[in-house]
């Protein structure tokens, strides 16, 4: 199945495959999760945590969206999408039964299995939790393989927090889940402040830990810097980058950042590869 999909992408890298919306889950006011199943002529795909697909809203356009589902469950293909533009709005508005075009999966993966026996810090800001959810599903399922596992998750406001059910399930599975918001409301009893303020609550051994970080660039830079300060090695920090993409296969040139094509070399990078580039404004 997997190789048939890869073959189709290789033979016709520009051509979307038809998938059907099976379920639409409204996560927040502007975030929707789509569960897809293959349409006629499409093959189920397996993917690694951190990879993305190009999702095509028919006649409207195509955007890169990280896969937010469980990598161990190939029966459904799941993406979590924030409505921020023309195409993402069209995708968020799809109803069950609708056709959506899919090309992928593309890009690099979070090296989660390589961290067996180690502590794992997962740090997410806003919609950045979506590309990390496959990692958390994996860690929860194979909890015993890893040392301390901690999720540090920041959202702007309490009503923008994603995946409430999963957050609780991950807690139950033995993951330390710390949540913060930038702006509290009257009902909020939790942490207030940016995601980096959670690091002091995290239980992990910096010298025996890896971190997976995804969120706005400023959040990733500060989180990586704070984890370095806690004594983590630079090369054990990983981040996921976002850039404009039109092709996802290295042809269109849009996603370049210095020497990197985010679509093929990334989106997941070891921090040392991005550190210098991200320090340069407008690169």
């Amino acid at each position: 199945m997997e190789s048939r999909h890869a073959e189709m992408v290789a033979a016709q890298p520009w051509l979307p495959q038809p998938w059907i919306v099976r379920e639409v889950i409204r996560e927040t006011a502007d975030v929707v999760t789509l569960s897809l199943q293959p349409g006629e002529g499409a093959a189920a795909m397996s993917f690694g945590p951190g990879q993305f697909n190009m999702l095509y809203a028919f006649g409207v356009g195509e955007v890169p969206i990280s896969i937010s589902g469980d990598p161990a469950d190939a029966s459904r293909l799941i993406h979590t999408i924030r409505d921020v533009g023309l195409v993402s709005r069209a995708l968020c508005g799809l109803q069950p039964g609708a056709l959506v075009g899919v090309r992928g999966p593309f890009g690099s993966c979070w090296p989660v299995e390589a961290q067996a026996g180690q502590d794992v810090v997962v740090a997410a800001g806003g919609i950045g939790l979506a590309p990390l959810r496959p990692v958390l599903y994996h860690l929860a399922r194979h909890r015993a393989r890893y040392g301390n596992v901690v999720l540090l998750y920041g959202a702007r406001k309490p009503d923008e927090l994603l995946f409430g059910v999963e957050l609780e399930a991950w807690r139950q599975a033995g993951i330390q889940v710390e949540v913060t918001v930038d702006h509290a409301d009257a009902a909020w009893r939790g942490n207030v402040g940016v995601a980096t303020t959670l690091i002091r609550h995290a239980r992990f051994s910096p010298r025996n830990a890896a971190a997976f970080i995804c969120g706005p660039e400023v959040m990733m830079r500060f989180t990586a810097a704070a984890l370095e300060e806690r004594g983590m090695a630079q090369e054990r920090l990983f981040i996921s980058m976002e850039r404009n993409m039109k092709c996802a296969v290295g042809f269109c040139g849009h996603c370049q950042l210095g020497p990197e094509f985010i679509c093929m070399d990334g989106p997941v990078f070891a921090w040392p590869r991005m550190r210098r580039l991200m320090a340069v404004r407008e690169l």
């Binding site: 495959q17 038809p18 056709l99 075009g101 850039r243 404009n244 290295g250 042809f251 370049q256 020497p259």
Partner: protein
Amino acid sequence: MPDVPATDARILQADRLDRLFEALIARGYHCVGPTLGEGAIVYDEISGSTDLPRGWTDEQAPGQYRLKKRNDGAYFGYVVGPHSWKKYLFEPQRRLWQLKRAGQRFERTDEPPEPKRYAFIGVRACEIAALRIQDRVFAEGSFVEPGYAKTREQSLVIAVNCTQAAATCFCVAMNTGPEVREGFDLALTEILEPSHHFLIQAGSERGRELLSALPTAPCTAELQQAAKTAVAQASRQTRTMETAGLKELLQKNLESPQWQDIATRCLSCANCTMACPTCFCSSVEDTSDLTGDHAERWQRWDSCFNPDFSYIHGGEVRKTTASRYRQWMTHKLSTWFDQFGSSGCVGCGRCITWCPVGIDLTEEVRKMTQPEGGRA
């Protein structure tokens, strides 16, 4: 096209040049090559020697291109114009597909175009280098662009050695010319004196077969020497570029104030990227009809100089002209090595000639290499 050792040169009399066109057409090739158009020498479909810009040359300088009459009957007595061969392999705009939404499937409603068999006539050494560079982008990476790969594979390169350089040429510095050494099916050298003829060599099996069909004569040592001398004239170039250490130098100067200085002149018009034979960026445009059930996707050339090129939600990554020029120049001359193992510049000088304000890439590199005040 696998290179085979070039054959010994043969001589084709200039008044027999149409035999080459006839042989190409008989073998089903679409001949494309230089012709006069738009006040310049451009590449277009041609069918014989009368379409060539015979007796014309080009005079080039930063921001300037002029056609001039020659006082001889040279067919290839010009250097390079605003067009490059990429427009045939990586078209300025093309439909990628047309789909109909039908139940649980997409029905493809277009006929994917049959890739053409082109004979590119008059390809210069720097342009062969540019073709090789785009091969690495579209045909030799993790993914292969099927249209490019097929068209390239079945097209012929009929090269022509330059026997003069424009004031904007710097292929010698980039080690891509002026002599055609590889990557051709046939290579011609035009000799005007004492009689008008072409030295002609085959560089591939297809080229050999073609050459055998032409009315050629053996080449004498004198004519061989005359051709060498003619090509050597094209090595005399006024522009140059110091490439040693340039990749690293640019990476060290990402925050140089010189980018701001360039931005005071650069119009961010994208001409350099359109004229550049290696620039490969493109965008796509999705459209649908009124029923919403028929849609198509078009690919168009795009440029890192366009503001929305780097747009992600929240705004453009490269908002300023300084950052966009930096992206273009550091990509072309530095990060291209990381990505594709070579420079992205072949020294053809098009970006200098076709820049409306005459920004000279070689001069900007020189300023970066030898900054006033010793900054490095």
